[in-house]
Structures are given as C-alpha cells and as structure tokens.
C-alpha cells in the first residue's frame, strides 16, 4: 500500500462539507412545524446512519474478497472498515438517544430499530475485540471475515426494522416526503461524512497493512542470518 496524500485531501474536504452542511442546518434551514428546532439533529443523525451502513457494507465486501481471494490488503481494509463502522454506529446511538429524549420522552427504548442498531454496534465491536485477541494473523483474518459475513445479516434488519415491525422510530423519509428546504443540509452532511470516512478508512487500512507486514516479517536475527548466508554463497 502506497503513501500518497489523497486521503488527507478527501478527509479535509469531508470536514469542510460537514462544517458547511451543519451551519446551513443550524442557522439557515427553516424550523420544522411539529418537531421544532429538535429536527435539526436529523442533519447529523441521518448522514451518520447512512454512512454507518455503507461502511459496514464495505466491510462485508472486504470480508468476502478476503475469504475468496486472500491477501493482506483486503484484510487491512476489513479491519479499517470495521473500526469506522463501530465509531459511526456508536455515534448514531448517541445522537439517536439525544433526539429520543425530547421527542419520545425517554433516552432509550428497546424498540426494533434501536435494538437492531445496538446489536450491530456490539457485534462489530466484538469482532474488533476478537482481532485483538487472536495472535495468528491467518486465523485472525479468516475468523474475523467469517464473523463479519455473519454479523452483516443485521444490517438489512436495521434498515427494514421500521417497516417490518411496529416501531417508535419513524419510517425512512424520501425526497417526496421531505420538504425541499431540508434536503441540502442533509445531502451536504451525508457527503461530508462519506468523504471524511473514505479518507480515514484508507489511512487506517495502510496502518493495518504495515502492521501486518511487520508481524509477518522474519525476526531480525533470522533475516540477518539469511543475509549472511546469501553473502557467503
């Protein structure tokens, strides 16, 4: 894996978009008729949720490629995507909890959407912990890829939970059900989180790849002996 600087540029662009979208959502977007100013939380909550599912879908793809083709590059990308997915899933739970208090009157409820999201957070957090406990890099790569394929089954459950079960959480909005005045801050922040996480996942994947290289390299004494043997032959 190379060391080009594009992830820094993409992450910086993501942060700039987030600043722009959040300012629009907080200052210029109109007040929603029923939820009032509390609705402004949506401009950060919804983009975080979309990107959490997106990055975990990328983790699922990395797991499949890693299992089918092997190679440390895909294992490194898998590790990076799991970590980013856990961070975004935790943030979704925090933002959702802050939104739930003034609208539902509770910080948390074991409603289908919230429960499946909590399962997602703990499942992928567990896989990240599993990677820390397994010393053998080959077993670590295979076990965590298999675990990701199994845990990913929860992602469609999170998405469809509001349609399949009677949920406190509202059903997904569409461009037809959301006023045009609310579209732009939502879209700008969605691309902001996407660009920020794309850059961070690439950097984190390089980091994981270099660590794997160091882990798989022969011990110094062995490599010195090999070098000495090459010199004498």
């Amino acid at each position: 894996m190379g060391k080009s600087g594009w992830p820094f540029v993409v992450s910086g662009l993501g942060l700039a978009l987030l600043l722009w979208g959040s300012t629009w959502g907080l200052v210029f977007a109109p007040r929603e008729t029923y939820m009032g100013d509390v609705q402004r939380i949506m401009y950060v909550h919804v983009p975080t949720a979309w990107n959490a599912m997106l990055v975990l879908t990328f983790a699922f793809a990395c797991a499949l490629v890693s299992l089918l083709r092997g190679g440390w590059t895909w294992d490194a990308r898998l590790e990076a995507a799991i970590e980013a997915g856990v961070v975004l899933s935790a943030l979704v739970c925090i933002q959702g909890s802050i939104w739930a208090r003034p609208t539902w009157g509770v910080w948390w409820d074991w409603d289908p959407r919230l429960t499946t999201t909590a399962v997602l957070l703990f499942a992928f957090g567990g896989i990240l912990a599993l990677r820390q406990f397994v010393d053998d890099p080959v077993k670590r790569a295979v076990w965590s890829a298999v675990a990701v394929v199994i845990a990913y089954a929860d992602v469609p459950l999170v998405y469809f939970s509001v349609r399949w079960w009677n949920s406190l959480h509202q059903v997904q909005s569409t461009p037809e059900t959301v006023s045009r005045a609310f579209h732009w801050p939502l879209r700008i922040n969605a691309f902001g989180v996407l660009f920020l996480m794309a850059g961070l996942v690439e950097l984190r994947a390089r980091l994981a790849f270099w660590r794997r290289e160091a882990e798989l390299a022969p011990p110094p004494r062995l490599s010195q002996a090999a070098a000495a043997a090459r010199v004498t032959t």
Partner: protein, 45 residues
C-alpha cells in the same frame, strides 16, 4: 397539548457537540497513529 415540541436547543447543541467530538476525535486518532507508524517506517529504511 399541541403536539408541537417547544425549545429543545440544548438537545440540538448536545447532538452537534457529540458528533464533532466523536468524528474529530476519531480523525485525530487515525492521523496521529498514521503519522507515528509512517515516521517509524521511514526511520527503519
């Protein structure tokens, strides 16, 4: 009871601050770990 939520700016501020702390904190953590590892590799070469 009108069904309309009044006020609530403290929740809005809390959500945006939490988002900024988590996203910036994670970004800084990745940048810092990347810089440290990259400079260690450069030194080893």
């Amino acid at each position: 009871m009108t069904g309309v939520i009044e006020g609530g700016w403290e929740y809005v501020v809390a959500a945006y601050v939490a988002s900024a702390v988590v996203l910036l904190g994670y970004a800084l953590s990745v940048f810092w770990r990347y810089r440290r590892e990259a400079s260690g590799r450069d030194a080893a070469l």
